[in-house]
Amino acid sequence: MAEFLSLQEAVSQHINNGDTVAMEGFTHLIPFAAGHEIIRQEKRDLTLIRMTPDLIYDQMIGAGCAKKLIFSWGGNPGVGSLHRLRDAVEKGWPNKLEILEHSHAAMANAYEAGAAGLPLAVLRGYVGSDLPKVNDQIKFIECPFTGERLAAVPSVRPDVAVIHAQRADRKGNVLIEGIVGIQKEVVLAAKRSIVTVEEVVDDLGASVNACVLPSWAVTAIAEAPRGASPSYALGYYERDNAFYKAWDGIARDRDTFLSWLKDNVFEKGAA
């Protein structure tokens, strides 16, 4: 059964230096509050996995939490670059960052294979792309039935999955609504999971086919209202697109970034 913890306790108990951590949420429900807690607890040498690193990993990379990044699209959506990610890749600041990059289709398949307990995912992908030349985790196999050449990537099996969801009931069952991304897959693929939620309620109010994670499939739940901001939580608050635009200016310069980090992360406690 999922254990209800404070965000501070959940991060401290379940995320260790050197862990492989996947914090998912496809544009929607990005677990920013948890990311900030990881920064505050100064976790180090993490291998971070996320399809779209987004601002959350830009912040964590700039804060020095990551040694490696596995991703498939590393930009600020609709705005431009993730400057902290670029600074780490291009200049090694604040530390060298190893990268392993995929396509979205391959990562989505790899998460699903992880949830399914398989060692690999097979897809019709990467045809003619140079990505397999720079990522040794992309191989090609022959279909034993048709002989078709297909791409294979290892499944994603992180130590810890971190996601944000709309709500949990008091037993720890979790409801995810809207763009569900790969939230369910990453939790089921991981050894441990932390789910932050907007609120804990008596009744989830889930429809019969809703995306629900049962309490016994989740390790820890922490209440974190507005925990996905500046991304959004459908039914609670909208995406703060103005902040995504402003981030370009904040993150472009190391000093501006560090001062933002001090004021908005280090000097603010967990919810």
Binding site: T27, P77, S81, H104, A105, A108, Y126, I182, E238, N241
Partner: protein
């Protein structure tokens, strides 16, 4: 009297016209999204727009800033998980057109959104592939829209993130279950299409007030022009009005700060 319009508007309107009502379009963010929604709001009200965040048949009132804005989900027929989107809907063969933008494109319509320079020591690191590598091969055909400049239109891309026709124009030959690839490239200067035999991009239509020299000047290889070179029809007053309204609504929506702070 002819209307006043910018080259960007010319590009968006021309790109929009490439879409028809019966298409199911997997939409990239940015210019493709603008064009696809303009099509939906003008001549193709029933065009099916799909974004990789899982939103099927979506009808946003403002252009999304990201591929997964709430607007896309709330105005969609339904929203599926990301693995389902890529496996069932894209790889399963339900997408007629993939509509993509790019940072670099070469003469064989290969796209680079990964980096400029060498992979291990990049001069400029770009966002990466996202959905494009598989959209380009699993959709039945691909439309590309991008602004024309020498930096963008290069002879050979530094890195093939997403295949057009490969380094030699033959990358799709004898590959089973692969789409036709790029069938049209729409820029702010012209329309290009791959030569049926060599697959090299050829200018088939010049936008109004654009000369051959303008295109030659903005292209990083010896660009060829079709024998029957057309002039792209100008935007109509209706198309310009709808496009400008859409952009104004979008700008107002995305600049409205909610919290300003996290």
């Amino acid at each position: 009297m002819s209307l006043e319009f910018t080259s960007s508007e010319m590009m968006s309107v021309t790109a929009a016209r490439a879409l028809t009502n019966d298409m199911t379009c997997f939409v990239g963010i940015g210019l493709p999204s603008e064009a696809a929604n303009l099509a939906r709001l003008t001549h193709a009200p029933d065009v099916t727009l799909i974004y990789e965040s899982g939103t099927l048949q979506t009808k946003p009132d403002v252009l999304p800033l990201s591929i997964g804005d709430g607007e896309l989900c709330e105005s969609a027929l339904t929203t599926v998980s990301v693995p389902e989107m890529f496996r069932y809907w894209l790889q399963g063969g339900h997408i007629s057109v993939g509509f993509l933008g790019t940072a670099q494109i070469d003469r064989f319509a290969n796209l680079n959104t990964t980096l400029i320079g060498d992979y291990r020591a990049p001069k400029v690191r770009l966002p990466g592939g996202g959905g494009a590598p598989e959209i380009a091969t699993n959709a039945k055909e691909v439309f590309i829209t991008v602004k024309h400049s020498k930096r963008t239109f290069v002879k050979d891309v530094d890195f093939i993130t997403t295949v057009g026709f490969g380094r030699d124009g033959k990358a799709r030959d004898n590959v089973p279950n692969i789409g036709r690839g790029p069938t049209v490239v729409i820029t702010d200067l012209c329309i290009l299409k791959p030569d049926p035999d060599t697959k090299e991009l050829v200018v088939t239509s010049l936008h109004p007030n654009v000369t051959r020299e303008d295109v030659i000047e903005a292209t990083g290889w010896e660009i060829r022009f079709a024998d029957q070179l057309a002039t792209t029809p100008e935007p109509t007053a209706k198309e310009l009005e709808v496009l400008r309204d859409l952009k104004a609504r979008t700008d107002a929506h995305h600049s409205a700060a909610q919290s300003g702070q996290q």
